[in-house]
Symmetry: C2
Subunit: 677 residues, 2 copies
């Protein structure tokens, strides 16, 4: 079919004078239109939707090292169209069945020089977004090459409001989001989410970053965003050899902010599962030796207050077993944490426990109680040290029955270290091609040992969980721990009302919700800036197949009423829908459990209270449900009365409209359980 199309189109376009005319490709429902043309041989694309220009005519191309730039003049030597419409199944996820439906246009370009280089442009146009990439086929006049700059730009049609975090800053992705017009942007990370004056929501991101630098966006003139690839330490951007291809540059589009959340274009643009049977990747709810270090009650390093002791681990394992948790994370058990470990990453030993931690005994204890352990690999971003031990480290965990490892790459700014064969030390950004390659190696190695990865201080998510389903979760934003110690007051209430529309568009996040000790007894100058009910709601709002109950066991034992929601809430979903969405203000998400007929609702607000009407039309018609509602008490307020929680039960059905009353800084969490009749 694809070949026939190609033939027909070649033939049809001939009488129009060769290949200089404009070519368009529309989304299946016709609403999104990509227009491509060669302007004096230079490639230009634009994107329109239902009469509205989204991306004005914008340039494409590359600056290469020690070669002429790859920007044209080109001529079109072939054009291939294709249509795909399939449904695939996520082994785990926020939605089980995902439709992959797009029109594809491949433009085969060749330079008009004597030694012409070739470049393909591929557009995939979905009803909800557009992806396009560059492909370099094997060819006569290009083999190895080095990209010094990618010239792709997004010329926006207005000075849209944007929510963004700055790129090239020391703390990686861990910044509070700023909201400004596009004209006031720094160089920013993606996803970059925007709201237009005319009521559209856009987000620019990338998908399937296989062997390439990740992309930041730099404002050139006020309304144009230029792709700015994160460089290697040697100043180059991407080292390549044909055949080669770039990641997909992606524009997501929604008529409302909620549609961005249920947009699966990024996943669809990644290749299908390469690992085969991944039944060993199991979504999990976990507790662990973690928050107690953040609040200063114990330490990662050895000594009298060492957190990762055999005894303490058993305490968490007992707690997990008692309350039905799947797993326990233990940080700080291995040698390397003493002194300023962030500067001494080469000291980490990934198979060598501290003397007060009997890992064999802990693993046996956990196994006997039906609890999994989650391993931990903090690398301080000393990549060479880690990669030298990686194979052994995963084998070690596999032998102990561990199927999940949290990795860590704490390092400020451009400080991810590798040592070349001459012994020379190189320092890289977390986000360049070097680290993309590293993370891919970790995933592939871990997969061989049937281990899933939860990466902290990671490279950003670009949807590789579709291809590598052992890439289960990651950090890559300011998480809960900032509430424990940051000197800027922690995460303000609005932070979690922005994440679902920005960071979380990229994929799951291990935010670690569920702090019940809101005022943090151990840290008088710090606190969590939410109500208790909002902490519960985060389990539904923030999607991750790996969710921590982050607080200490004793804080949960003291509030078993509220804790019941965390015990009940699943981490693997059949479906996800968004009921209310206003970026930075409030969001309500409902999800259906993949393994029962239960639905769950999470609704959160910023520092202001809200009254939101939630029609329960997602429930199965004709069926009655018991709604177990965990909500802010009438006098709750994140500042003055954060623990005031009401738990009420109510019989509802699909025709019920619930009024959610969120306190300032508050939230509501609901379990809907069918009543058997």
């Amino acid at each position: 079919m694809q070949r026939l199309w190609a033939f027909l189109l070649v033939w049809l376009s001939m009488p129009l004078g060769g290949w200089t005319q404009t070519t368009t490709v529309t989304s299946p429902d016709g609403s999104l239109v990509v227009t491509f043309r060669l302007e004096e041989g230079r490639p230009v694309y634009q994107i329109d939707r239902l009469g509205m220009p989204l991306i004005l005519p914008s340039p494409m191309g590359f600056v290469l090292k020690e070669q002429p730039p790859l920007v044209g003049p080109f001529r079109l030597i072939g054009l291939v169209r294709d249509t795909v419409d399939t449904v695939w199944t996520q082994p785990w996820g926020e939605k089980k069945h995902i439709r992959n439906h797009y029109h594809e246009l491949r433009l085969q370009l060749e330079e008009t020089t004597e030694r012409p280089r070739r470049l393909d442009l591929v557009f995939r146009v979905f009803d909800e977004g557009v992806g396009f990439r560059y492909e370099w086929p094997e060819q006569a006049y290009l083999d190895r090459f080095v990209i010094m700059d990618e010239l792709t730009a997004f010329r926006l049609a207005g000075d849209h409001q944007a929510w963004w975090i700055p790129a090239y800053h020391p703390n990686r992705y861990e910044y509070l989001y700023r909201r400004t017009p596009i004209s006031q942007l720094d160089t920013v990370h993606t996803p970059l989410t925007m709201e237009t004056a005319d009521g559209w929501f856009l987000s620019v991101h990338e998908a399937e970053v296989e062997d390439y630098a990740t992309m930041t966006l730099a404002p050139s003139d006020s309304l144009t965003l230029e792709v700015d690839l994160v460089p290697w330490s040697d100043g180059t951007r991407v080292k390549a050899q044909t055949p080669f291809r770039s990641p997909w540059r992606v524009l997501l589009v929604g008529d409302n902010a909620g549609e961005l959340i249920t947009n699966y274009t990024l996943l669809n643009l990644n290749a299908p599962n390469r690992l085969g049977d991944v039944s060993w990747v199991r979504p999990a709810k976990y507790v662990g030796i973690w928050w107690e270090m953040h609040i200063g009650r114990s330490t990662w390093g050895s000594g009298p207050r060492h957190g990762a002791t055999t005894e303490n681990a058993k305490r968490y394992i007992d707690f997990a077993a008692r309350h039905g948790f799947d797993a326990v994370l233990i940080e700080g058990w291995n040698v390397g944490w003493d002194g300023d470990w962030t500067q001494n990453g080469d000291k980490f030993r990934f198979t060598e426990p501290y003397p007060d931690f009997d890992i064999e005994e802990v693993a046996r204890y956990a196994r006997d109680r039906g609890v999994q352990l989650i391993g931990h690999h903090e690398t301080a971003c000393h990549i060479t040290n880690y990669e030298r031990q990686m194979e052994a480290a995963f084998a070690f965990y596999q032998r102990l029955g561990i199927h999940m490892v949290k990795t860590g790459y704490v390092a400020h700014g451009r400080n991810c270290i590798w040592i070349d064969e001459q012994g020379q030390v190189h320092r890289e950004w977390h986000h360049g091609q070097f680290m993309v390659r590293h993370h891919r190696r970790v995933l592939e190695t871990a997969a061989r040992y049937q281990i899933a990865i939860n990466a902290h201080e990671p490279v950003k998510d670009t949807g590789e969980r579709r291809t590598y389903p052992n890439m289960v979760s990651r950090e890559g934003a300011r998480g809960q721990e900032y509430n424990a110690w940051s000197e800027d007051g922690g995460n303000p209430p609005e932070h979690t009302t922005i994440l679902p529309f920005t960071r979380l568009l990229a994929g799951p996040m291990d935010f670690t919700p569920g702090i019940f000790d809101i005022l943090i007894k151990d840290r008088p100058n710090n606190r969590v800036n939410t109500t208790l009910a909002k902490q519960l709601a985060l389990y539904v709002v923030i999607y991750s197949p790996l969710q921590m109950a982050a607080d200490l066991p004793e804080h949960y034992e003291a509030r078993l009423d509220a804790f019941q929601f965390i015990k009940d809430v699943p981490v693997d979903w059949e479906d996800t829908r968004v009921l209310h969405a206003r970026i930075g203000d409030y969001v309500t998400i409902v999800r259906k459990d993949r393994h029962s007929d239960d639905w769950y609702l999470g609704s959160i607000t910023d520092e202001y209270g809200r009254t939101l009407e939630a029609p329960l039309s997602f429930l199965e018609p004709g069926r009655r449900y018991l709604a177990e509602i965990y909500r802010d008490a009438p006098d709750a307020d994140w500042r003055t009365n954060p623990l005031a929680l009401e738990i009420v039960r109510q019989v509802v059905d699909a025709s019920t409209v619930l009024t959610l009353r969120l306190a300032p800084g508050g939230g509501t969490a609901i379990r809907f359980h069918p009543i058997e009749e």
Copy 2:
């Protein structure tokens, strides 16, 4: 109960040192809080909601003529609280049963002078808004008085986005809405609708304007709006005598824009029906001799192209009877239209037909065919000429069996004329106390003849339809006729996506939708800036108990497929809900017929297309409906292909989610009819 409260509160507050402390009154659900205090004896109020200041501490009071200003120092001599929670029934309306639920606080103030004047402040706090008014009881030291200025102000808490039309401009309320921050406001009419940066929607308006000037809002410093009463021609604002009371100053609040539309605070603040049995007020769908004058095919005045001839009226009556319309409007039938009638309002004779119009015969012809006539009183705002004939004019219509009259007040700027007993001519604004009094006299006179009023170029709506249910509809915004002749290109596509959130918050509007001859054959330089489907959707989006099918009969006969929707759509509703709402971009409203189990949906967009998901959870659960969908064809576009309409039928139920695909400038109209099984 009220008395007991008053007693208790007087007693409780005594120990705190008299009446100087702060007093609060909250809405029934506690979300809205009004705080009142006397600052050095001067009244100050503020309004907060769920932790968010909506109105910062703001002043109250009056400048009076030839008296000291009424601004304090006051002391509080009494305080009365009350709670009301009732449900009342609209005889006709957009929703049948309306809950009226508020907490009231009455503050009885007295000046601290030797000859103290008294002033009461009354606050009514609903969950969805706040109303407050001034009341002057009968008292020793104030009898007749003249208000020169009302000092009420609204100090806003942010530079909110606002949608507004300017006050004191020649064309009354007939301007396109501008959207700017509050800091860039002119003096504006109300309702003034605002969106805050934190996701709240506010609208400032007034209710129950009985005998007072209407209110405009003037920016004082950038974020304070001061009440600016429309003056009499003599420069005074309000002529009063105790007991007297101001209108309610009203702040409507919604968590989303759609909640403003289903906010019934304004109606609740008007007094209940004073007319008793109003079964003679019947919502109606009508056609009429009207659009043909606007497009220049015939004239209001006499002559060879006179529109209101006996023969032409019969043609419309036949058309109405054939297609089941309730009524026919005939304009230009009475003497007074020749020459520049806008300057010669005293020439109108309201009981004297032109010779080519046999009104007795037309009335008989209509009666025989079961069609009502709608009378017409164009006054050119010569109030004295009209009022001298008014009693006779309504009696004349009543004798002909007419129960509905369209009035008109065409006059530019301050040109509403009255002649005093000395024969002196005075020229007034349309919006001052003089015209408020006039409109009230018209309603009361018309009611005595069982006639309902549809006022064009009116005073603005402040909810008097609750008290006078014969006040059925009015104009008071740029209507359809601007598409026929305005030199500014007509109403842009976004106009009707702003009206529901601004003008229509005040009450029903006789917009006169339904132009099928979108490109207006008779007017090559004018056109209607929508698709055909959007014209249909307006019948649901724009609420009026009186809806015109405004185009010529022959244009409907040529498109009977599309016309069916206009024939089916009711004008009286059991309930109204808003599915999508973004001011100036798009809106989707569903309404349930009051006299059947049918539901109707109208969805419209601005110049950009939209894809909107509409869950049909409003339908009765477990029941199947036939959806008759009138939508833009895939290639429809208001600019290039406005007539491309698709009509499809689909079986749906409460669990269906319909995707509405609106073309640029387009819309969707749907009838949901239960399938009997």
